[in-house]
């Protein structure tokens, strides 16, 4: 008898559980060493409470009514629930607060794309520690975690969510076109970005900057010649970079166009890449306004690793045949350049 389960969910059987457990045990040890305390929160929350966080595209997708008619949602990330916990249970505690979690989160999916409806995330939240120190600490824990689980070739993309909005502000982009431009950049649709700039009547040097700056990515040399309107964000990145230990610094790729599709990020944002997988295996950033929405104003930063993606990347590296490396290694052999 075959009894189906919803697409994007799955049963995890002992062989896989063993492998996943090895990863999460290692991560737990690293988080613990950095003194992040593990917490659990309910998978179901009140919709009205989580709605305080501006989740944009990552907002909860599943709703149910409880026996009194209140609307409950399945959490779509752990950052908003932990912000709620801090405001509720740590109202006057000393900061910084350090939390870590291993929890399933729930997202809506596009059919037949292998996307997960139920996704195991492992992450940390560092609350009450401002930039640049807090950001550097989070990046160091992230890097230590990935090295500890044995991922070899990963890189961490670092950008700043405030950079492009600041650029638009200082170059006097009409306010009613900013949202569309930002959306085009989130999708990195540079063709649409150029088209929208033209439509908004932005031309000349301003348009060139708005197109060129978000395409800049590379090493720390990127941070030396930023155009004026981007100086604040870029200086912030440089301060973080200066605080990073060597093993972390060498993994960083600066990406001036990096904007994540979650609304609450205010400053540094990051994503984890590995050549063995075509999509990011984790991400995070600063959310300095989010805690205030729950009633305790504190700067904060965090990241989440997508455990299944991390597992896939590890398996890909082991086989030496990651999606991105397979053909390239053949091509590289016959390469003259």
């Amino acid at each position: 008898m075959i009894h189906p389960i919803p697409s994007g969910t799955r049963d995890v059987l002992p062989q896989e559980t063993g492998e996943v457990r090895a990863i999460t045990d290692t991560l737990r040890a690293v988080f613990d060493r950095h003194r992040f305390g593990e917490i659990y929160t309910p998978a179901l929350e009140y919709e009205s409470v989580l709605a305080r966080a501006d989740m944009a595209e990552a907002r909860p997708a599943y709703r149910v009514f409880d026996e009194t008619g209140a609307v409950l949602v399945l959490r779509s990330d752990m950052t908003a629930p932990i912000a709620r916990v801090v405001a509720t249970r740590y109202g006057d505690s000393e900061v910084p607060l350090r939390f870590c979690y291993f929890a399933h989160t729930y997202r809506g999916v596009r059919p037949q794309r292998g996307q997960l409806r139920e996704m195991l995330q492992a992450g940390i939240e560092l609350i009450g520690s401002p930039a640049p120190e807090g950001t550097a600490e989070a990046l160091s824990v992230l890097c230590d975690s990935l090295e500890a689980v044995g991922l070899r070739d990963f890189r961490i993309g670092v950008g700043d969510a405030s950079l492009f909005p600041a650029l638009m502000e200082s170059l006097s982009v009409p306010e009613d076109s900013r949202e569309g431009l930002l959306e085009a950049l989130v999708r990195r649709n540079f063709v649409a970005l150029e088209h929208l700039l033209h439509e908004a009547g932005v031309s000349g040097e301003a348009a060139e900057l708005l197109l060129d700056v978000p395409q800049r990515r590379g090493g720390p040399e990127l941070l030396t010649d930023a155009p004026d309107p981007a100086v604040e964000a870029v200086t912030g990145m440089r301060r973080v970079y200066e605080l990073l230990p060597a093993n972390v610094a060498e993994r960083v790729i600066f990406d001036l166009g990096l904007i994540r599709n979650i609304g609450y990020y205010t400053g540094a944002v990051f994503e984890v890449y590995d050549p063995a997988l075509g999509a990011p295996i984790g991400g995070g950033g600063r959310y300095d306004d989010l805690l205030a929405r729950f009633g305790r104003s504190l700067p904060a930063v965090g990241f989440a690793l997508y455990v299944d993606s991390l597992h896939q990347a590890l398996a890909g590296e082991e086989r030496g045949t990651g999606a991105l490396s397979e053909l390239r290694s053949v091509a590289a052999a016959g390469e003259s350049r």
Binding site: E57, R110, R155, G157, R187, R188, N189, F190, V191, A192, E194, H195, H198, Q215, R217, G218, I253, D255, N261, E271, Y273, D274, P275, L277, G278, A279, P280, G322, A323, L324, E326, L327, R328, V330, A331, A332, G334, E335, S336, R337
Partner: protein, 224 residues
């Protein structure tokens, strides 16, 4: 010499093939075998994989190819249904300018059967290979449509009376004219686009920027 210093390129067979191969040629890539061997799929020595255009975003999204060339029609058709829902997770880097076509709504010459259906029945039947683009367009223009997805020659559908109209891509309009169909509405103009995998875009930034630079400097790449 490899395609673009080690980048794997997804090249579409079909209408965009010629233009893409020509572009690769101007980049200094040896396209000899690509032109002559239309059965082979994998050209390792120049870092090229060939496939049907609608598969290009799939391979690029998965990272099996770092970059690819496909039509805007393909990208739009693979967008989600819900407003604001994102399409494939690929970056659209450049409008390559070639492969220019128009997506049109066409029906049989003479009194427009689609209009009559809409007036008398409140709904028009439309055949297309692009059900999502068609559904979005009808919705945006405030009309109810019944969409009939076909895989082969779309022109046949209105001639047999199965539907009132079609939505299809046309370059010159010749096929439409030969089948006694006339363009009633132009929906959008489509050109070839260069797309990239998000992870490759970071991990192979230098190679990708170098390629973009060379493409932008070509007079053929009509940017915008």
């Amino acid at each position: 010499m490899s395609a673009a210093n080690g980048l794997t390129i997804a090249v579409p067979r079909g209408a965009l093939f010629e233009g893409t191969v020509e572009l690769l040629g101007t980049l200094g890539i040896d396209t000899g075998e690509l032109r002559t061997n239309n059965r082979k799929l994998l050209f390792e020595d120049i870092g090229v994989v060939t496939m049907r255009p609608s598969d290009v975003p799939t391979y690029v999204e998965a990272g099996a190819a770092d970059i690819g060339v496909t039509g805007k029609d393909v990208l739009l058709e693979q967008l989600g249904h819900a407003p604001g829902e994102r399409g494939r997770d690929v970056y659209e880097l450049l409008d390559l300018g070639f492969g220019r076509c128009t997506m049109v709504l066409a029906s049989k010459a003479g009194p427009d059967p689609a209009l009559e259906s809409l007036r008398r029945l409140g709904v028009m039947r439309v055949a297309t290979k692009y059900p999502r683009i068609t559904a979005r367009y009808l919705e945006q223009t405030g009309r109810q449509g019944e969409i009939v997805e076909v895989k082969g020659s779309v022109e046949l559908a209105p001639l047999t009376g199965m539907v009132d109209a079609i939505v299809d891509l046309t370059a010159t309009g010749t096929t439409l004219r030969e089948n006694n169909l006339v363009v009633r509405e132009e929906i959008l103009v489509c050109t070839a686009r260069l797309i990239a995998n998000p992870v490759s875009h970071k991990l192979k930034a230098a190679q990708m920027d170098d390629l973009l630079e060379r493409l932008r400097s070509l007079p053929a790449a009509g940017v915008g």
